[in-house]
């Protein structure tokens, strides 16, 4: 088990009703696995999950990827800056 930090931005922050959280996860957890855990803890996230982007250590991350120890994770919608 190891601890990761998860941040939420824009609509995801609104849905999660928090800016960030810490989570104890098992080793060798994938991004897809993390999503399942998050939905179990925060059901409101499920509806927007198909259009949610996830980053690990400030790089875009994808379902099969393993989450490294102490990862900085963020969930957010497609970007709309400019």
């Amino acid at each position: 088990m190891h601890k990761v930090k998860i941040m939420f931005f824009a609509t995801l922050r609104t849905r999660a009703e928090r800016r960030s959280m810490e989570l104890e996860i098992e080793n060798h957890l994938t991004v897809a696995g993390l999503k399942e855990i998050l939905i179990a803890q925060i059901p409101a996230l499920e509806a927007s999950l198909p259009s949610t982007l996830i980053s690990i250590n400030r790089e875009f991350a994808f379902d099969e990827e393993l989450i490294p120890e102490g990862a900085e994770i963020a969930l957010f919608p497609p970007v709309s800056g400019g």
Binding site: F9, A10, T11, F60, F62, P78, S80, G81
Partner: protein, 160 residues
């Protein structure tokens, strides 16, 4: 030679004169600069570049960023520009965040080169297009009818 690259998420007013000066070398003869501003009145209908438009008024926008990742992705955009247009000399990419009112410049992409026929216009255009794809910044639109987060529609692929 080391060419200047400026990239930042900032709460300060954009100063075009200063930013241009910072990316102007002795060998520089041309700069293409893009700026985006808050529109107070949008008349376009339909969809363009992932944004659904209907005519409406905007009171202001509230920008937020995932700052460390946004600055890292801005640097990546600058590196992509340098790979595609090796003649580009200086690059500035600045996104202003916070509460911003109509007519206020919110974003700047500037590319300099020795001459104007070296792709500087295309490079600046590429820069703003990419920023709107991969730099984690979001805006909430505050209108007379209420607040709404604007969402893009670009899904980065592995390696982006």
């Amino acid at each position: 030679m080391k060419f200047p690259t400026i990239f930042s998420i900032s709460e300060e007013e954009l100063d075009l004169n200063k930013l241009l000066d910072q990316i102007t070398l002795t060998s520089t003869g041309a700069a293409a600069i893009f700026t985006g501003m808050v529109r107070g009145r949008t008349t376009r209908t339909g969809k363009a570049q992932g944004i659904h438009y209907k005519p409406h008024e905007t009171d202001h926008l509230e920008y937020e960023a995932y700052k460390p990742m946004a600055e890292a992705k801005m640097l990546q955009v600058a590196e992509e520009i340098r790979e595609k247009w090796p003649t580009v000399e200086g690059i500035a990419i600045v996104q202003r965040i916070g509460k911003l009112y109509p007519r206020t410049p919110t974003v700047l992409i500037a590319c300099t080169a020795s001459h104007r026929d070296t792709g500087v216009f295309d490079a600046a255009r590429y820069g703003i297009d990419r920023l709107k794809e991969i730099v984690p910044v979001w805006k909430k639109e505050i209108t007379p009818e209420g607040d709404e987060w604007v969402e893009g529609e670009y899904f980065p692929k592995p390696g982006e």
